[in-house]
């Protein structure tokens, strides 16, 4: 029998039931710790830590920065959800990166090639992106269920293949059009009808929040409902928790692998949409890259929980945005990356420490009850 490594997977999957103040303690401790490490690095290079953090904070709350943060967070959120769907089933989809790039490219080309009435045009582009993302992910899924190829390897390899395919497609003879005088190359810009107007949500700036922020919110809700309220989600989580038990309960694991991978890929397809339909309108060489990997970090930071991921995405985006101001003050913006890495590590360490503290507290409680003569419970009655 395998020893029951009980609560740990819990903590990984973000299902820790930390109570009351303690649940707040973990992230606060973590952020303080990350700030401490960052301060040490800053001090070592002669930059005043408090001032630096103050600069970042001050800049971060300006209306325009808030818009930037929200927009980046929208994209990050979708990326993290795409990754998290796989994680919940113990599928490590490193291929989100390739999936969204290919999806954005093809969706952009389709969007640029047609003109449809407003909402229809947008829906078409988004559908194409989801289909392409899911289609690309399905290769890894099929390789896994048919040939037993680990999705870790296959998605790493498929990312590279997606790059090659994208490069081949993004060519004048195929999906790309030339912009005269530009050294860039991209797809035909999507017509007005296919664009999603920004929202003037934040007062005090002209910058607009991506209209598709609502798509991200909807995806988050959908993710939550699908996983926690549906049979399908139950099967998916069951498979993630114990494949053998899932099989015995009648779940077809292969089907679940394919479904989860397809869903993850479809969600990956959405990653590029806010940018494409809300800002770039065309997929070109400077379309943002590497979001799949950012998604992994944020999914882990948010412990695969839709709300946790939202916080993770906002924090990540905030740090990224405020990196911009640091350069203006001659502080190396790389410090932000060090901060991000430290936060990921320390958040999870803090959770662990808080958890251990709880156990110790529980133990003390039992001892005390014992001393005061309360009859002990025979069965393990830990709450």
């Amino acid at each position: 029998m395998k020893p029951a490594e009980s609560s740990f997977a819990d903590r990984l999957l973000g299902r820790v039931r930390l109570s009351g103040l303690l649940s707040l303690a973990a992230p606060v401790v973590a952020i303080l710790f990350a700030a401490l490490i960052t301060s040490i690095v800053l001090l070592a290079t002669g930059a005043p830590p408090l001032d630096t953090l103050a600069i970042m904070g001050e800049y971060g709350v300006q209306p325009r920065s808030i818009v930037l943060t929200l927009n980046d967070a929208t994209t990050f959120y979708l990326a993290a959800i795409a990754v998290a769907i796989g994680f919940r089933m113990n599928l490590f989809n490193i291929g989100v990166d390739g999936q969204y790039r290919l999806a954005a490219l093809i969706a952009a080309a389709v969007g640029g090639a047609v003109v449809l009435p407003g909402p229809l045009h947008i829906v078409l582009v988004i559908l194409v992106a989801m289909l392409v993302g899911a289609g690309w992910a399905s290769i890894a899924a099929l390789l896994k269920v048919k040939r037993g190829v680990s999705e870790v390897i296959s998605t790493i390899m498929l990312n590279a293949v997606a790059t090659a395919l994208g490069s081949w497609l993004l060519n004048r003879e195929r999906l790309a059009v030339e912009v005269s005088g530009s050294n860039n190359i991209g797809t035909e810009p999507i017509a007005e009808s296919g664009r999603v107007p920004g929202l003037a949500l934040i007062p005090g700036t002209e910058s607009k929040v991506f209209g598709l922020i609502f798509l991200a919110i909807a995806v988050g809700i959908g993710y939550h409902v699908l996983l926690n309220r549906t049979r399908f989600g139950f099967d998916l989580r069951a498979t993630g928790r114990s494949e053998t038990a899932a099989v015995a309960s009648g779940v077809s694991v292969k089907k679940m692998i394919v479904m989860a991978m397809l869903l993850s890929g479809a969600a990956a397809g959405l990653i590029g949409m806010p940018q494409l339909l809300g800002a770039s309108y065309s997929y070109s060489l400077d379309f943002p890259t590497g979001l799949g990997f950012t998604g992994i970090a944020i999914a882990l930071l948010g412990r695969n929980h839709p709300v946790g991921i939202a916080f993770g995405a906002l924090l990540w985006a905030f740090l990224g945005t405020s990196a911009g101001i640091l350069q203006l003050h001659d502080i190396a913006p790389e410090i932000v990356q060090i901060m991000q890495g430290t936060i990921v590590l320390s958040v999870i360490i803090a959770y662990e420490l808080v958890h251990r503290y709880q156990i110790a507290a529980e133990q003390r409680r039992v001892s005390k009850e014992l001393a005061s003569g309360t009859p002990p419970q025979a069965e393990g009655a830990s709450a």
């Binding site: 020893p3 029951a4 490594e5 740990f8 903590r11 990984l12 690095v41 290079t45 490590f92 490193i94 390789l143 269920v145 048919k146 040939r147 037993g148 190829v149 680990s150 870790v152 390897i153 296959s154 790493i156 390899m157 498929l158 590279a160 293949v161 790059t163 090659a164 395919l165 490069s167 081949w168 494949e243 053998t244 099989v247 077809s252 694991v253 292969k254 089907k255 990997f293 992994i296 970090a297 882990l300 190396a332 790389e334 410090i335 932000v336 990356q337 060090i338 901060m339 991000q340 890495g341 430290t342 990921v344 590590l345 999870i348 360490i349 662990e352 420490l353």
Partner: protein
């Protein structure tokens, strides 16, 4: 319905049975396989005229490209054999590239660079060990964090070191002192003339031999020696047995008085050091300066090579070699060589199809594989070259192809990635 039931059942067989293949990989089998491979390459080279398939240059480049991947893979092997998943190899490798260049410049010696690179990677490993072993943090989270940190730290350090040096900048170091490559004396020239005869098999052998014996860096030799050394240490020593037992069943090790934490720590730090060495190789041997982004995902590829090699040193060396070889071919004369590889793949697929039909009586599989062979052959016959964009992914596609052909019997250490805490045994 029937279909679905079948697949579920198959899945179970794969999951539950996990029969250790009784097929033993002996020296004889290995040599036979290598011989067959050379013969096949030689045949393909002879038919297509793609001389680079077995040229000394390609083999030499193969080794150079395979070494950093292999070292990262070895790093992964050490760590995962002790039960700690190491997705932070890329970050540790990045620390190695920076450390390699900085050490070499600072102390004026490439060997000092190798050492500092090693230490840089080991530092990343230590961080990973602290997080995963002492704090019980999930291995993947920690690994991801280390990848981010590795990049951030080196960027930052470059800014405060290399940027100040002449010829350096924020994103690159000045040129580093180099190690001169070595050759086995006296055999290069004769082999070269033999190779140039373009005789079937003989010239190919000469090319391969020359590629392996001339113009090789001592660090490369060291890296290659690390493969058998790793095997020896992990499979033939008491230390190695204990280390592996921590990856298979840590509670069993604990119950016999093995200090699991210590072994995990050692394994993960060594893992980082090996990845760091791979990084140092990149900045010191494969090129002559540190550049930001120099690792270009090799840490991940190393991880893939390790899985490919079934968590064994020989297998991972084969994986790294395959990747290095195909990468060398596509980089050197992509259009021609990769096109020739199509023929090789067609022959290989046909062989597999025959094997499936005759030895395994899997008619359906054989038909599929056979059809694949025909398609690849048609592709070979009907085209002159591969679109340039696609040659760059030859190694990746080859890896996928090999993995999907080889019946999957991959078996990670049983407790790989499972957090362990002392005294939790039931």
């Amino acid at each position: 319905m029937t279909e679905e039931r079948d697949t579920t059942a198959e899945m179970r067989v794969e999951q539950v049975e996990r029969v250790p293949s009784k097929f033993r990989f002996t020296w004889k089998v290995l040599l036979l396989a290598l011989g067959a491979l050379v013969l096949l390459l030689s045949f393909t080279r002879f038919v297509t005229g793609a001389v680079d398939l077995t040229s000394a240059g390609a083999i030499n480049a193969t080794v150079a490209l395979a070494v950093p991947i292999g070292l990262a893979g070895l790093g992964g092997l050490w760590s995962e054999r002790a039960g700690v998943v190491n997705i932070g190899l890329e970050g540790m490798m990045i620390l190695g590239t920076w450390g390699g260049a900085w050490g070499a410049i600072q102390f004026g010696s490439p060997w000092a660079g190798v050492l500092v690179g090693l230490l840089g990677g080991a530092f990343g490993g230590l961080l990973h060990a602290v997080a995963t072993v002492s704090f019980g943090v999930d291995h993947i989270i920690s690994g991801v964090a280390i990848n981010i940190l590795g990049l951030g730290i080196t960027q930052f350090l470059s800014k405060v070191t290399f940027a100040e040096m002449k010829g350096g900048g924020d994103t690159q170091s000045p040129p580093v002192p180099k190690l001169d490559p070595v050759s086995i004396p006296g055999i290069g020239e004769p082999l070269k003339s033999l190779e140039e005869q373009r005789w079937f098999l003989l010239s190919d052998l000469a090319g391969i031999l020359r590629g392996l014996t001339t113009n090789v860096s001592l660090v490369t030799v060291l890296a290659i020696l690390l493969v058998p050394l790793t095997f020896y240490v992990l499979w033939r020593t008491a230390f190695g047995l204990r280390l592996r037992s921590c990856g298979e069943r840590p509670v069993a090790a604990e119950s016999l008085g093995v200090n699991v934490y210590t072994y995990k720590y050692v394994a993960v730090v060594v893992s980082g050091a090996l990845a760091g060495l791979g990084g140092a190789f990149l900045s010191l041997v494969a090129s002559s300066a540190y550049r930001e982004g120099q690792t270009a995902g090799r840490g991940f590829i190393g991880l893939a090579a390790m899985i490919f090699g079934n968590w064994r040193p020989g297998g991972l060396a084969a994986g790294a070699g395959l990747f290095g070889y195909t990468d060398a071919l596509q980089l050197r004369r992509g259009g021609e060589s990769v096109h020739a590889l199509l023929l090789l793949v067609a022959v290989l697929l046909a062989g597999v199809a025959v094997y499936q039909l005759v030895k395994q009586s899997r008619t359906q599989a054989a038909v599929f594989t056979g059809a694949g062979a025909v398609i690849v052959f048609a592709l070979f016959a009907l085209t002159d070259s591969i679109p340039a964009q696609f040659t760059s992914v030859t190694p990746h596609i080859t890896t996928l192809l090999v993995l999907s052909l080889a019946a999957q019997r991959l078996r990670p250490p049983a407790a790989d990635g499972v957090p362990y805490r002392k005294g939790q045994a039931k």
